[in-house]
Symmetry: C2
Subunit: 644 residues, 2 copies
């Protein structure tokens, strides 16, 4: 292991030499204490006091994981290099701080107490029901830049914020991410690493707290800092290896990181878990454990004198205002009735069409933009498109980071591959992220490529996420309008699109709303209602038309908004026609059929669910729709059965 | 970029020098053609012919991605170093071959045609409905060692197979994985890389086909082979950089890789997408596109003479027999009634108890074995436990690899973090994997840690997977019995466990079956049925007992098997009591309530779903159960509402 006692940067083997950053100095008012090592030591002691008392009072939490990073965070925040307007956490010029190791939340809250934002009485509510100070940070705490706690997401979110600073808002704020050593095992970290280097994010600083111990024992690399350095450096980052409890080394490293140009920097810090308390230091069995009152008193004694009056200060951020984009109205929607257009094509067209009205839009794609048709937007607005390559986890978290900085991200890939990012998707509401996700190539209707490429669980997956919206258009017009509705809605929206072309069935001025539906066929003699969405709408219409020729009337509902759904229309249909048949290109569990049953839960209308029930194969789309019994033939057969 | 023309290994910077492998030579019958470069060239030409004709006939597929790896695979398979009993794909001594770039399936099938396993008429069925030769390989094709097509999974599965060879079966077979350059962007690759190095898998060979072009353009690194080498080497692998169209270099690299000890090897090969056809070579816009008949004819002309009679041969594998473990019966289940035991504790106990009856069990955990209680098994059978660190995607795919080699893997982490591996989970049935997954810390009942740690989408997620089984025990006895049932069931089983302790309510001999349920309270005066599972069973019982004191009788069902579920009992209950109330510690969509509604779809019984509907917070478990209205209080209130 190699240390450099004076904290100067350690150039990586074979790496570039350090370049002068083009970022102007933003240090307009260095606080009096910035160079005062004694003051920083006092602050570190106060922070440790808060960590220990807060977790003992709560009876749960992660004190040892907080103690290891205390100097790192005190040095980063309170030595003059961190710019923040305390009264306005959303000031676009504020430096950002993400605790990717969210379980170190006691440290996070202690820091904001040391900055004067929280009182000791606030800290006493830590982990209590109703407190903003949750076990792991969420958007309830306005000074947490993102919700964390599922490891390996904070750096990805930080990449999104850094992309925003460098390429979109073009503001000199810097993004800092505190990373645990255990979470470096998550593949998402390396997705973030490669993209950060690819986009030359020299406004991004990772601080790796190598305290050696994970939850149940030593990490894969222990204190082998060289192993981390080699990997991080191979991924194109500047690396600085330090003793994470030496304030001079920390200050020097932070300063050096600010001078690095054209690449992100990782401070790799050797730390001691439980630092500052002899009986906790580097001890196994103390992860996520709190001290009882006696232990806490003993620990506090070891801290020495605690100056509760000391407060850390930030530097004042610049007062730049990001360019306010001109806002115009979206253009009209024009597709000739009957023309065959894939909804994925309409998605790309829609983004371009509505961009004047939603100039915050940013498009991200997982190296399939020619398939999802995000490429249409990319071609029109190359500066608002970011290629995320085949790394879906990072793509979603980058989108969360952009959303947290006021952008309107649309992240797209095949519906099947969004399963890769389910953890990131489920976490996004806890960050309050205004995230839009688009999954193309849904269902068996993609045909020959086979089951690996078929999104067949995506509706279930997105429906189960807190406060999500799930939209599934069947033609180009409804796609255009629903993309627009998604942009106007605040929160997570999923839009499911289809590979194959389908005929335009709506006029350009037709209105589509979240929670709505369309009754496409209706008579007062309907023997049943077929509820369909996406590709199956066209199957239902064909079935209806064929049955009509036989004198059998069937109601057809296009349930384009799967969550929330149009309960009234469904209940009216159930009352009028009695029987309901749902048809979906998705596995039955958690899909459209179950959603419809939920909406009718207290009604006595029987619901029959047609869905993908057999292991899908390669084949022609129409062969597969028949095989899975979700085609027009299957619908007709089902209706005929009812007749018996 | 650096090449070594003779194909000798390029030692990595700072890496170990190459060591002699301890693996004995298994080359018992080198085929006549092994050193015959002319023969290999003929085979490569034949393989190209098959690739082109098969994809043109199908009208879809990925010829150019197949052509780039043709020499790599012909050299690997047909030069004497690959051992395989063609008549018996499941011979445990066979070398394994995984196409992680599953879209190169035309190459895979062409190779098996060149080996004499498939006829040209078989290839003509490629991508046709009903053919074993699907668009991306699945278990329908017995020579595909795993289903691929979602990128970044093959190497992880290969790690599982290599772990099996080195540590479990202790057989000298080698595992080979063909990797695309685009998929190196997936974080799961780096999870596999680090674990492969950690476990010193010198029986694992990755072959990286660097053809520069992804789906929609150039990859992040193009032909910068040094960039790949630096990263792969930093992750602890031996690297060999070659020209991927030079058969001598390929043979030499494969031979060198077999000599590497104590670490896996990656052959990093510079290749040309579309190689062999002038108008396809290194051209954008040809990904996933087939040639029309005229183009195909022109392409075939460029191949020169095609010798359709030539056949590649493998070496004969050793005839070792893996030790057959003694099989005994499981011990009895003994928990005193009323004792408080967390179901996660019972899970650990169960694995130990049933191991004699299921000696194929292997336990994997994502660095939380002290929480999931996999540690109980680890302590008892350290040689059957593999620490996977915080890298859930790789953990699941390693389990798939172990399952494909006949093991019975139980992979565990927090239920919340299994969302990280949803893509790997949904893919597992297409590999036919006998996979068991255990998620602990389900629901808001974990309390103070907050929403990031709460599994609230896991039931929806697992229910939506093809042919899955979802089990959710409420006490120690049912956990023990359901773990046993999961082990006996072939296929994907998910078991959901709880953090907090709960009282034992079943006797040790109580029988639990997949698809079963328990009616815990029943009378002929029941005004409603409460269907619960896991923690809510205890809430339902408490509610029932309190209501009983008021003279209100309620039926209580423990729905421990959520999928498949006990339709008969539910329908009987619905008929008898009319109203059904479901209670679950999970979001409503895709959960237990919707599953129950599905089971009663054509019955007129109203179902009321109590589930987690508000954004969860930190707090005490009982506070959170009340807040979400899934506690005994909420159940009582609901029943009282019915009375009105």
């Amino acid at each position: 292991m190699r240390y450099n006692a004076n904290g100067a940067s350690v150039p990586e083997t074979g790496g570039n030499t350090m370049k002068q950053s083009r970022r102007p100095s933003t240090k307009t008012r260095p606080p009096a204490a910035s160079d005062d090592a004694a003051m920083l030591r006092k602050l570190a002691t106060l922070v440790r006091y808060y960590i220990l008392t807060m977790t003992t009072q709560a009876g749960s939490g992660h004190p040892t994981s907080s103690l290891s990073a205390t100097e790192l965070m005190v040095g980063l925040l309170f030595s003059g290099g961190f710019h923040y307007e305390v009264a306005n956490p959303q000031n676009p010029n504020n430096d950002r701080l993400i605790f990717s190791k969210g379980h170190a939340s006691p440290l996070l809250y202690a820091l904001w107490a040391a900055a004067g934002v929280l009182k000791e009485s606030d800290l006493a509510t830590y982990r209590q029901f109703g407190s903003r100070l949750e076990g792991h940070p969420t958007s309830l705490f306005p000074y947490a830049d993102a919700a964390t706690g599922s490891l390996g997401q904070g750096l990805c979110i930080g990449v999104g914020m850094a992309i925003n600073g460098k390429y979109l808002d073009r503001l000199p704020y810097r993004t800092h991410v505190l990373i645990g050593d255990s979470e470096m095992a998550e593949g998402s970290q390396w997705e973030a690493m490669q993209i950060a280097a690819h986009y030359k994010l020299d406004n991004l600083l990772g601080i790796l707290d190598v305290n050696r111990l994970g939850q149940r024992g030593e990490t894969m690399y222990g204190w082998d800092l060289a192993a981390y350095q080699k990997k991080v450096s191979a991924f194109g980052w500047e690396t600085i290896v330090i003793d994470g409890h030496s304030l001079p080394e920390i200050l020097s490293a932070c300063e050096a990181a600010r001078r690095v140009a054209d690449r992100p920097t990782m401070i790799i810090a050797r730390t001691v878990k439980g630092k500052g308390v002899s009986f906790l230091e580097d001890k196994e069995g103390w992860h996520g454990k709190t001290l009882n009152k006696t232990e806490c008193e003993a620990a506090l004694k070891e801290l020495g004198e605690i100056d509760k009056s000391v407060r850390g200060e930030f530097s004042v951020p610049e007062a730049r205002v990001p360019a306010e984009p001109a806002r115009k109205s979206s253009g009209p929607v024009n597709y000739p009735a009957g023309k065959s257009v894939a909804t994925r094509d309409a998605y790309g067209n829609a983004l371009v069409r509505i961009f004047p009205a939603f100039p915050e839009i940013v498009s991200l794609d997982g190296e399939v933009s020619n398939s999802t048709k995000a490429a249409t937007f990319k071609d029109a607005h190359p500066d608002r498109f970011f290629e995320m390559y085949i790394a879906e986890q990072n793509m979603i978290s980058v989108a969360v980071g952009l959303a947290c900085r006021g952008k309107l991200p649309f992240a797209s890939t095949f519906a099947a591959f969004l399963t890769r990012a389910y953890d990131q998707i489920r976490m996004s509401p806890y960050s309050g992220a205004n995230l839009k996700v688009v999954g193309s190539h849904a269902g068996v209707s993609i045909g020959q490529d086979g089951p690996s490429q078929m999104g067949l669980e995506d509706i279930a997956m997105f429906r189960a996420v807190l406060d999500s919206v799930v939209l599934y258009p069947c033609d180009a017009v409804s796609t255009e309008r629903l993309v627009e509705a998604a942009a106007a809605h605040r929160g997570l929206v999923y839009i499911r699109t289809t590979r194959e072309a389908s005929p335009v069935i709506y006029g350009g001025d037709e209105r589509f709303v979240i929670g709505g539906s369309k009754v496409l066929r209706k008579s007062d003699r309907d023997v049943a209602t077929v509820v369909a969405a996406g590709v199956t709408v066209h199957e239902a219409l064909a079935a209806c038309d064929e049955l009509k020729r036989e004198g059998i009337a069937v109601r057809v509902v296009d349930l384009y908004s799967v969550k929330p759904l149009d309960e009234k229309t469904l209940r009216d249909a159930a009352s009028a026609t009695g029987r309901i048949i749902t048809v979906e290109d998705h596995y039955p569990e958690g899909g459209i059929g179950e959603a419809v049953r939920s909406a009718l839960g207290d009604l006595a209308a029987p619901v029959r669910i047609l869905a993908v029930r057999r292991r899908p194969k390669s084949g022609k789309p129409e062969e597969l729709l028949d095989y899975e019994e979700i085609s027009r033939k299957a619908i007709i057969a089902e209706i005929r059965k009812l007749g018996n």
